[in-house]
């Protein structure tokens, strides 16, 4: 376990409240089960540019439907940078990157009137930094024990969190981090039909945490597409809400138009027979397509740096 810096901030979040806390590069935010069995929703923003925020779909596509110890939590695809790495995570903490945050209407339509919910809790918390309810984004869900079946139906199982369990996230950029006990838990297994407090601590950076950040930066930044607003063709945040067409705008699509080049490849009779077997097996529509797919697959498997086997 890395040595963290001294404790900088500690808050106890009673149900159902949240707190936006600056967590700077190299610092660690620890989210603790004060009593256990409480689902936690987590949002985060670049402290210096709120348009860069935690990208749930980006994190999901780079890791899995669930994240685990050592996984990187990425910002949205327009920026595509590491925001956190999971340093420690209790084995009872089932993570979830599929479920949308709960919101008031879900409960009202079930007859419960105005009920606690993560959309409103997170919005109330980030308001301290002049962010609006529209700025709340999909949550990194912690201690959210979800499953799905073979046809994609999604459901929640009993919360497995225990008192004292925690998750440690190391910030790799300066962030505004927001944790909130989920407000839906008293009406389901999300938090086992109760609402409970959580504790949040922030530890200062240390030489060890900063060294880990630098390692992550070395391996995961500097790629095409990891853009800053200065690189955006349109980079001003719209001050008004109405959308109006800009008649002088000319889009610049990547590598557009797509062009093809044909190459004549000689194969022996035996090689043709093998290729045709793959056509028959459905790898491609014809021999040319099978060869193209084969070459690209070979390259992906044998030459792409750091590619996971799939």
């Amino acid at each position: 376990m890395l040595q963290y810096g001294p404790l900088k901030t500690e808050v106890l979040l009673q149900p159902v409240s949240g707190k936006a806390l600056p967590v700077l590069r190299g610092e660690v935010i620890r989210i603790i089960q004060e009593e256990g069995e409480q689902c936690v929703d987590f949002n985060a923003f670049n402290l210096h540019d709120y348009k860069e925020y935690l990208g749930v779909s980006n994190t999901r596509s780079r890791n899995a439907f669930r994240v685990k110890k050592g996984d990187i939590i990425w910002s949205v695809s327009s920026r595509d940078r590491p925001m956190f790495v999971i340093l420690e995570i209790a084995e009872t903490c089932r993570t979830d990157l599929l479920g949308g945050r709960c919101r008031a209407s879900l409960f009202d339509r079930r007859g419960y009137g105005l009920h606690t919910n993560c959309q409103d809790t997170l919005a109330a918390a980030i308001g301290e930094y002049d962010l609006t309810p529209d700025d709340v984004h999909d949550s990194l869900n912690l201690w959210m024990n979800t499953e799905w079946d073979s046809v994609g139906r999604y459901f929640t199982l009993q919360n497995t969190g225990r008192k004292g369990d925690y998750v440690d996230l190391l910030a790799t950029i300066d962030t505004l981090s927001v944790a909130a006990p989920c407000g839906s838990g008293d009406l389901g297994w999300t938090s086992n039909f109760a609402l409970r407090p959580i504790r949040v601590q922030v530890f200062e950076a240390s030489d060890e945490t900063l060294a880990r950040v630098k390692e992550i930066e070395r391996n995961n930044t500097g790629f095409k597409g990891q853009r800053t607003p200065e690189e955006f063709k349109v980079n001003k945040i719209k001050p008004d809400r109405e959308l109006r067409r800009n008649p002088s705008y000319v889009p610049e699509f990547v590598n557009y138009p797509i062009t093809n080049r044909s190459i004549q490849v000689p194969l022996s009779a035996e090689e043709v027979a093998k290729t045709n077997k793959l056509v028959a097996a459905g790898l491609g529509k014809d021999a040319g397509e099978v060869i193209r797919i084969g070459v690209v697959l070979w390259y992906m498997r044998n030459r792409e740096p750091g590619r996971r086997s799939r």
């Binding site: 093809n260 044909s262 190459i263 490849v265 000689p266 009779a269 043709v272 193209r292 084969g294 070979w298």
Partner: protein, 55 residues
């Protein structure tokens, strides 16, 4: 797409790559040990692919 097969069953297969896929051929060309011509590199890599597929 294949042209007319020769008497021994060998064929010339037309393989199409777009400019993004062709980057792969350029990278393999730069490695130097899969051949120099595009068709040579593609054939070599495809045979490697077949071998890895157990064919």
């Amino acid at each position: 797409m294949a042209d007319s097969p020769s008497a021994d069953g060998a064929e010339i297969i037309e393989v199409t790559f777009n400019q993004q896929q062709y980057v792969i051929i350029e990278k393999l060309k730069a490695e130097g040990h899969f051949g120099r011509a595009d068709e040579e590199i593609i054939r070599h890599i495809f045979l490697e692919f077949l071998r890895q597929e157990g064919m």
